[in-house]
């Protein structure tokens, strides 16, 4: 395909199509609306379904319903809508229905500032729904990465039967960059594992070697029950602790034992680096430039860009902290991912650079912090 100039939000739409997404339900909200507009145009061309629902609650519900019916499904929203989706993120985690939720972060809380950038939803993406649950959250730093990580989000979602949240910010969602999209048939696509056992043998939530039970789509001849209540291997509600415990353990284990696959981190750390800047999303762009400037001034500085922010890359950050003296965490909030970095950095110094007024953190600010030691 010829290179194209496009927005991050558009790249998310193309990435979804490349990943095999055939269902989108959403509700208009700045700064994510371009995803919906783009897919309302493109999905019907490939036989996919697009529907604008009455709110964000219904949007994610429709996505889960469509996924149960066998279509790869996605919705996109921003802060206020993301808050409304929390119950169904928990429902998808509980019922193990694959779906992708895009949150193009804007400045909050509440209506906040719809057209200003923020990274304020980091903790909400992890803990927004009630109860302990596994979740995967990916965060791109560029338009090309928005395409790539959307594909990855679908693949993780299908592979691990879990909701995956793609956390953009207004900067990445709205900026335009050149993108060389690969031919869609060359993109690696993962589809949920189905089943071919006789229907009477099928256990929708039974044990499996991978901890991810095979998923039969509704209408495929396997009749079974799905519920947001704790359920036994047949999917029927249970109050028994000896059935609840194994479920809770299994759904966390299916993510934890695959961290090597799920954790995506870009490391650029010279030997003997005194300082390492750890960042993600749009802030990682400023961080990259700051590190470049610092190196021109002969500072030994490393750069770590987290593409997977949840599950938090504990092992990686812990190892990096061991090999350096100081970590700097710039982010467009008052310190959310920094809490995790501090948790695993041991006694190493962690310096935060925070801003929550809608403006990006500049490379100059990060550079000053690198030089201040």
């Amino acid at each position: 395909m010829a290179p194209r100039l496009m927005q991050g939000n558009e790249a998310v739409g193309w990435g979804a199509l490349a990943a095999g997404c055939r269902f989108y339900a959403g509700y208009p909200i700045t700064p994510s609306t371009e995803v919906a507009e783009m897919l309302s145009r493109e999905l019907p061309k490939v036989g996919g379904k697009f529907i604008q629902m009455e709110d964000e609650i219904a949007s994610l519900a429709a996505c889960i319903g469509a996924s149960v019916g066998g279509l790869k499904s996605m919705t996109a929203t921003s802060g206020p809508g993301f808050s409304l989706m929390q119950e169904h993120i928990g429902y998808a985690a509980m019922t193990e229905v694959p779906c992708v939720v895009v949150d193009v972060q804007r400045l909050g809380p509440s209506t906040g500032q719809p057209t200003s950038a923020s990274q304020g939803d980091v903790m909400q993406a992890r803990w927004g729904t009630h109860g302990d649950h596994p979740i995967i959250v990916l965060s791109p730093t560029s338009v090309t990465q928005s395409f790539d990580l959307t594909v990855t989000a679908f693949n993780f979602s299908e592979k691990y039967r879990t909701p995956v949240i793609l956390l953009l910010d207004e900067v990445v969602g709205h900026m335009r960059e050149r993108v060389d999209m690969p031919p869609f048939d060359s993109v690696t696509r993962v589809d949920r594992m189905g089943t071919d056992v006789p229907p009477e043998w099928y256990k929708p939530y039974g044990d499996s070697i991978s901890d991810v039970p095979p998923m039969a789509n509704f209408g495929s001849g396997y009749r079974y029950h799905i519920t947001g209540l704790f359920h036994d291997p047949m999917g029927y509600p249970t109050q028994r602790m000896d059935e609840i415990d194994p479920w809770i353990e299994r759904v966390h284990r299916k993510i934890e034992r695959n961290l090597n696959d799920i954790i995506l981190v870009e490391e650029d750390i010279p030997v003997g680096a005194h300082t390492v800047v750890v960042s993600y999303g749009a802030s990682a762009r400023s961080a990259r430039h700051a590190v470049k400037l610092a190196r021109q001034r002969r500072h030994k500085v490393g750069l770590v860009t987290l593409l997977t922010i949840w599950p938090f890359p504990e092992k990686e950050i812990s190892r990096i902290a061991d090999s350096t003296k100081r970590l700097i965490v710039p982010e467009m909030n008052l310190g959310q991912l920094a809490l995790e970095v501090e948790r695993v950095a041991g006694r190493k110094k962690v310096t935060r650079i925070n801003r929550a007024n809608g403006e990006m953190i500049t490379p100059q600010e990060i550079l000053e912090m690198i030089e201040e030691h």
Binding site: P44, G47, M53, A58, A61, I64, N217, G219, H225
Partner: protein, 279 residues
């Protein structure tokens, strides 16, 4: 055992632990058996039916039934069903809800599903109370009725479920009661065989909470009052508006076919694909 009673087992899950969660004397079981009879008469394949529910006493129905069943979140069953229907248009998607589920927390989805004329059959079991949580007033609790959260009487006028659906754009709307089970069988059969959004309101009662708080007697007494306080739509026409307002009007209140969402969406697919290939 009659032939029809026997046939119910065909549609129930042999693997599910009975008895069910409902209080003895509850009307929800009557709606479940009416649904089974309607599906049996339509000779639908179990694989081709999806039963979607929300939360509440009525929301527990799908787990007992041998279809593709999904017990979703409170109020959102229609939204889940919308996605499922779009993904699998060949499925008959039936949505079973209570009154609080369908028109309080789920009111937005109820109105918009009707407006879209989405190809779903909605069944609302209206017992005029939140039963599972212990008897709080719902959007259909009668004026002056007592509830655990309306100890001095309810001052909110009840929502006319069927009339709201008609106004919003449903293509088939009928109302019956759990006393009139034979009539309900017929309405459910019609509702399921229609395209577009069809609604059956099944007026029921909750003797455990509403009945006790309002001293309405046993399930038999409450059942009898459904018989005595309801009139068919033809009989209702002969009543004055004041008389009619005190009655439950039973019958097919609306049956006007129009293009359904799925039919119209198929045209969108065609238009988009023609535009693509024309390039």
């Amino acid at each position: 055992m009659s032939r029809e009673e026997h046939s119910a087992y065909t549609y129930l899950r042999p693997t599910k632990k009975f008895p069910n969660v409902w209080c003895s004397g509850c009307g929800i079981g009557i709606v479940m058996s009416a649904l089974i009879r309607a599906i049996s008469r339509l000779e639908l394949e179990k694989d081709d039916i999806a039963l979607v529910s929300g939360i509440g006493c009525t929301g527990r129905m799908p787990v007992y039934m041998d279809f593709n069943t999904i017990h979703t979140t409170h109020g959102r069953a229609l939204a889940f069903a919308t996605g499922l229907k779009l993904a699998q248009p060949k499925l008959k998607v039936i949505v079973i809800m209570g009154d609080g589920d369908a028109i309080a927390i789920g009111g937005n989805h109820f109105i918009h599903s009707a407006r879209r004329n989405m190809d779903l059959t909605a069944i609302v079991v209206n017992n005029s109370i939140y039963g599972m949580t212990g008897g709080q007033y719902s959007p259909t609790t009668p004026l002056d009725g007592k509830a655990t959260t309306a100890p001095y009487g309810n001052i909110e006028p009840p929502m006319p479920i069927c009339e709201v659906a008609i106004a919003a754009g449903a293509s088939y709307v009928a109302r019956s009661t759990v006393y009139h089970a034979v009539e309900m069988d017929r309405f459910l059969e019609q509702a399921i065989s229609r395209t577009g959004f069809s609604l059956v309101e099944a007026v029921s009662y909750c003797h455990t909470t509403f009945g006790r708080l309002n001293k309405l007697g046993s399930p038999v007494d409450m059942m009898r009052s459904l018989k005595e306080n309801s009139v068919s739509i033809t009989a209702a026409e002969k009543l004055t508006p004041e008389e009619r307002a005190t009655k439950i009007v039973r019958g097919v209140l609306w049956d006007v076919p129009k293009p359904s969402y799925i039919e119209l969406y198929d045209k969108i697919l065609q238009r988009a694909q023609e535009a693509t290939y024309a390039k």
